[in-house]
Symmetry: C2
Subunit: 152 residues, 2 copies
DNA sequence: GTAAAAAAGGACACAAATATCCTTTTTTAA
DNA sequence: TTAAAAAAGGATATTTGTGTCCTTTTTTAC
C-alpha cells in the first residue's frame, strides 16, 4: 500500500512526536534504531520532512536533532504523505485508470469508493497529536516502536 | 496502493471477462490496447495468471488467445492478486510493522483496522463474475476500458 | 576561536519493478 | 505437411526505489 519511504516517514514522525520535544531533540541514530529503519536512508527522508511543509523541525550541532513544534503536531497524517509525495493513495483509482469518477467509474468503483473515502478521512482527520494523545491515554500497548512504552 | 503489475493483472482479467469467451478468445495485442498497457509486459503478467491458479486460460496458435472459464469467473478478485503475489495488501500493517495486531497494535491500528477489513472483504467477496454482471446490468458507464461499452 | 557534535548534502551502489525484444514452441488451417 | 498465427520463454534494458558512504555546513560548548 505505502512505499518504504512513506512508512519510514510515518514511523519516524510518530516516534519523534512520542519521544522527543523541543528541549529533548532526537538524533538520527536513535530514531533509526527506534523505528527499525536504515539510518542514512531515514536521514534523507527526514530532510524531506523538514523541507516540504515542515512536518519536522531540526537543529544542527551539539544537542541538535529532530523535534515537532506544536504547530506540526496539529497537522494531519496526510501532511507526512504529502511531504514524501505519496498522498495520491487517497485519491487514486484501484485499477490505476487515469479517469475514474462517479460518472465514469472503473469496474471496481462501486466496491471501492467508500473504502477510498474512509482512507481519505483517516489521513485527513487524524492529526499527529491525536495519535500521541491516544497513546498517552494508554490505548496502545506498543513497544513496536522500540523504546516507546505505554505509560503506567 | 497496488503495483503496475497488479493493476494490469486486474484490468486485463476484467477486460477478458467482459469482452472474450472460449469461442472468442482475445489476443495479447487487443488486450494491451484495450487496457492501455505495454504489450510485452502484459504478456508476462498473463503468463503468471495462466500458471498460478489459472485465473486465465489460453490456447496457442491461430485463433488462439486468452479467455476465462466459468470456474475462473467465479473466483474472487483476490485470486488475481494472489497470482501476482500481491494479496498481502489485505493483511499488511499501514506502517509496515512486522508485528501489528489487536493485542500489539501500531499507532494507527485503531484508525486503520476497519478499513483493512473492508479492503479484505472487497477482494474476497467480489467475484470476477459479479463485476461482469454489474456491467451487464448497466450500472457502469465505462468506456474506460477501451472498446468495452455499456449495453444499450 | 577551536574542537566536537549534529544535520545537510552529494555521489554513488544495489535491488526491484517495469518494459522491450527476439527466439522457440504449439496449434491451426489450408 | 507446411505456412502462419499465436502464446511461451529467455535475455536484456531502463527506470525507480532503496540504501550506503563520505564530505560539508552549522551550531554549541568549552
Amino acid at each position: 500500500m505505502l512505499s518504504k519511504t512513506a512508512e519510514y516517514a510515518l514511523r519516524a514522525t510518530i516516534y519523534i512526536a512520542l519521544k522527543g520535544s523541543e528541549d529533548d531533540k532526537l538524533g538520527i541514530e536513535e530514531i533509526a534504531k527506534g523505528i527499525d529503519s536504515p539510518k542514512s536512508f531515514t536521514a534523507k527522508i527526514l530532510q524531506l520532512l523538514t523541507q516540504n511543509n515542515r512536518v519536522i523541525s531540526s537543529v544542527r550541532g551539539p544537542n541538535g536533532g529532530f523535534f515537532l513544534t506544536d504547530r506540526a503536531r496539529k497537522l494531519p497524517v496526510k501532511a507526512i504523505l504529502e511531504a514524501v509525495e505519496e498522498a495520491n493513495v487517497i485519491t487514486k483509482c484501484v485499477l490505476g485508470l487515469k479517469e475514474c469518477s462517479e460518472t465514469r467509474p472503473c469496474p471496481m468503483h462501486t466496491q471501492y469508493k467508500d473504502i477510498k473515502k474512509q482512507l481519505k478521512q483517516m489521513f485527513e482527520k487524524t492529526s499527529i497529536q491525536q495519535l500521541v494523545e491516544e497513546f498517552n491515554k494508554g490505548n496502545y500497548f506498543i513497544d513496536n516502536l522500540k523504546g516507546v512504552r505505554k505509560p503506567c
